[in-house]
């Protein structure tokens, strides 16, 4: 018994400082991509040729655009671009309320807007979510689980994952939605009482990700069910802090554009 208590004492406080204090990321962390269209060399397609998911459009022109909803954040485009027109920043704030806002063309922060006054009043201090993995590879699922552990501790904001859609205020979907999961996903959505939110987590759930175009998948939750999505959290998988930040901004619990970043003190870039 004493051993258990000593071990617990040694562990100390584990919960991260965010959102009051900074979130810590390794030097090589890939956050929001910043585009410098003016540097893009005409006719060059190096970035798109390196991209595993066709996330880049308008390459070789002043219309250069990167779709964070398809992006795996592997930074192969950054490595490939001879002109430095694409650079991944360490900004962990990636979530957006609409699909269009995920299409990046410059270097401006992407910040998820809060729900309207009625929904913020309903869900702002207590949000219960039902998670459905619809052919997710267990990457996003693992980070959603991590968001609830002692470090990230989503529950301190009144956000919890529940066992039944009947108890839920919304559904968090991961994966590209396989044909074999479509019926179960729809049943879960239908069993969730209105008003209900839909949150798409990860490139697969937003756009199909690396599985876009597969005949066995539907290209994400919006395409599979034809239901509106209230929050898109990009990444492959998104970092737990990105998930926290997206949910808290949607609930109006985090506001403003102050970026709170710290180094982990690990490997230099």
């Amino acid at each position: 018994m004493i051993g258990i208590l000593l071990d617990r004492l040694r562990l100390g406080r584990q919960t991260i400082a965010y959102p009051k204090g900074p979130a810590r990321f390794p030097a090589r962390f890939h956050g929001r991509p910043a585009l410098h269209r003016e540097r893009c060399r005409e006719g060059c397609t190096e970035c798109a040729d390196a991209c595993p998911t066709e996330a880049i459009s308008g390459m070789g022109s002043p219309r250069l655009t990167l779709d964070m909803g398809a992006c795996l954040f592997c930074a192969r485009c950054q490595d490939a671009c001879p002109e430095g027109a694409i650079a991944f920043t360490r900004d962990y704030r990636l979530a957006a309320r609409t699909r269009e806002e995920l299409r990046v063309s410059g270097d401006e922060a992407v910040l998820a807007r809060a729900l309207d006054a009625r929904l913020t009043r309903l869900f702002g201090r207590s949000l219960r979510l039902r998670q459905v993995s619809a052919a997710g590879c267990n990457g996003c699922e693992a980070e959603l689980n991590a968001a609830g552990n002692v470090q990230f501790d989503l529950a301190r904001f009144g956000v919890q994952f529940v066992a039944s859609p009947r108890h839920a205020d919304g559904m968090v979907v991961t994966g590209p939605v396989s044909e074999n999961m479509r019926a179960a996903l729809r049943a879960t959505w239908e069993a969730t009482p209105a008003p209900r939110l839909v949150v798409a987590v990860g490139a697969c759930a937003i756009s199909g990700g690396i599985f876009a175009g597969s005949s066995a998948c539907h290209g994400g939750v919006a395409a599979a069910l034809g239901v509106p999505v209230d929050l898109f959290i990009p990444g492959c998988p998104p970092h737990p802090v990105t998930i926290l930040d997206g949910l808290l901004r949607m609930l109006g619990r985090v506001e403003g554009d102050r970026l709170q970043l710290a180094e982990t003190g690990g490997v230099p870039r």
Partner: protein
């Protein structure tokens, strides 16, 4: 079984026609003889041969000789089943039926595998016109009848944040007579995508086969393509890959210890290991920016290097994290309340593990000494062998202890590699795959043996990409481990296997 087979090494590309094409009877005879002699099936897959037949290729592991054995046959129509005598083949035969319509006659457990559309418009091997509409209701469940016998059905959507699958228990009170697991919900058509993938997509696809095993699958993919291209990754890249593979093992094993602690209500270790798991994930992120090691391993090497100073600091971090993990594991294994739940729960005997062809921690916890890192080593595991550990009990406790023992060796190995990284480059992009070759690449991921078998066609493009995730071998082990147990122990037993749905369903 020597005449009529081809011997090759893991990730070595051989001319595809060199794999002997035997008559069906001789093929099955050689296969049965090999399995009876203690060889293990690592891959067993079909592909249309252009005509009416299906070419079946079997790859067995001869662990003692550190070699693989390949043989093939052509079949059309029903094939006699070998599964009754060799249960390790049971799921492979069902997969052949589902993917190619080859019905295994006399199969003792003839059920669909992952509800893929069949090879043609005709009804499939189960007579299903539209297999996708039958999950899971039209599935031929094994049912127990009798007074006070009841069924418990769970899934595909589970209570926690877990991948989908359907579990059907046949119970008598608390006692489980039988558990049947129906998978396939996660089927994404990954093999077809991998075969058609450009090189820029291939590595990212491999990382998404099972997202908790991104490094393991990316490594199996990279080594297969390097073999087909006729090169090997530079030594410094090989060492960094091994560091990443062992960090992935550490993160998952430590996470599993925490989850097991959570399932028995031992909260100190549950919360500590949840946080400590992040130490290993974050170490991977220091290496490549991603907590799961995505984007690190590519054919030809790795995309990121470490300075000597950074490598030394990372080694220290890993050792420090392990010291804290070991302390937390110690209180867990000492607690009577833990032992009460884990000892003797969910037992798989050594004999059963061998028969079913279990791999990874599930096999080693039942005393079966199988580990691709020692039996089919590649650099740096050949030069710096990692000790193979086993446990005897085959229960939840043994699977937990095995994870601790393995994680301890992984931490020491990863730190050791980081302290003496070889010099030189970390990437030498491989030439395009040579045409008409077959490479079978084995990597010991944290769940067990990962196999990627890749064959190129005459144009050098990938003609068949077969993936065997360790979970494919192991799901039947979980089902049989529950027999005679209590239904309330299922979450615990399930967690002690911690198998991949996505890896199975592909």
């Amino acid at each position: 079984m020597e005449p009529g087979v081809l011997r090759l090494r893991s990730a070595e590309a051989v001319p595809a026609p060199a794999v002997p094409l035997l008559a069906l009877e001789a093929f099955q005879g050689a296969l049965a003889e090999g399995l009876a002699a203690g060889l293990r099936v690592v891959a067993y897959f079909g592909e249309p041969d252009g005509g009416e037949s299906v070419r079946i290729t079997a790859v067995l592991a001869d662990d003692a000789a550190r070699e693989l054995v390949a043989l093939s046959t052509a079949a059309r129509g029903p094939v006699p089943s070998l599964s009754a005598a060799h249960p390790a083949l049971q799921l492979f035969e069902r997969e052949l039926a589902e993917q190619h319509g080859l019905v295994p006659e006399g199969h003792p457990w003839m059920k669909p595998v992952r509800f893929e559309p069949g090879p043609s418009d005709r009804p499939d091997a189960w007579g299903r016109p539209r297999p996708l509409e039958t999950i899971p209701g039209g599935y031929p469940f094994y049912a127990v009848e009798g007074e006070e016998v009841h069924e418990v059905a769970v899934g595909p959507v589970h209570a926690g944040i877990i991948e989908p699958g359907h579990f059907r228990f046949q119970c008598h009170g608390e006692e489980v007579f039988h558990l049947e697991i129906v998978l396939g919900y996660q089927h994404r058509g990954a093999e077809a995508l991998l075969a058609a993938a450009s090189s820029r997509r291939g590595a990212a696809l491999a990382e998404s086969l099972a997202g908790d095993t991104a490094v393991g699958h990316a490594l199996a993919h990279a080594r297969a393509l390097e073999g087909l291209g006729g090169i090997a990754a530079p030594p410094r890249a090989a060492a960094l890959r091994a560091v990443a593979l062992e960090l992935e093992r550490l993160a998952n094993h430590v996470g599993d210890l925490g989850a097991l602690a959570g399932d028995v209500g031992f909260l100190p270790t549950a919360s500590a290991c949840g946080a400590l798991r992040a130490e290993y994930l974050n170490a991977l992120a220091e290496l490549c920016g991603n907590r799961f090691g995505r984007g690190l391993v590519v054919p030809g090497g790795v995309r990121y290097d470490l300075t000597e100073d950074a490598a030394a600091r990372l080694a220290e971090r890993i050792e420090g994290a392990w010291r804290r993990t070991a302390a937390s594991a110690r209180v867990f294994f000492r607690a009577a309340s833990v032992r009460n739940r884990t000892d003797g729960t969910g037992v798989v005997s050594r004999e059963l593990a061998r028969q079913l062809g279990l791999v990874g921690p599930a096999a080693r916890a039942s005393g079966v000494a199988v580990d691709a890192r020692t039996s089919h080593p590649f650099p740096p595991y050949g030069g710096t062998p990692i000790t193979l550990v086993t446990q005897g009990g085959g229960d939840v406790s043994a699977r937990a202890r095995l994870r601790r023992d393995e994680a301890e060796r992984s931490a020491a190995f990863a730190a050791g590699q980081l302290r003496r990284l070889p010099g030189g480059p970390v990437l030498s992009p491989p030439p395009p795959p040579r045409p008409g070759r077959l490479a079978v690449s084995l990597v010991e991921g944290w769940r067990g043996e990962i196999c990627h078998a890749v064959r190129t066609g005459p144009d050098g493009r990938v003609a068949r990409y077969k993936v065997v995730d360790p979970s494919f071998h192991n799901w039947m082990g979980l089902q049989l481990a529950m027999r005679g147990g209590q239904v309330s122990d299922f979450p615990l037993v399930n967690k002690s296997f911690n198998l991949s749905y996505a890896g199975h369903d592909l």
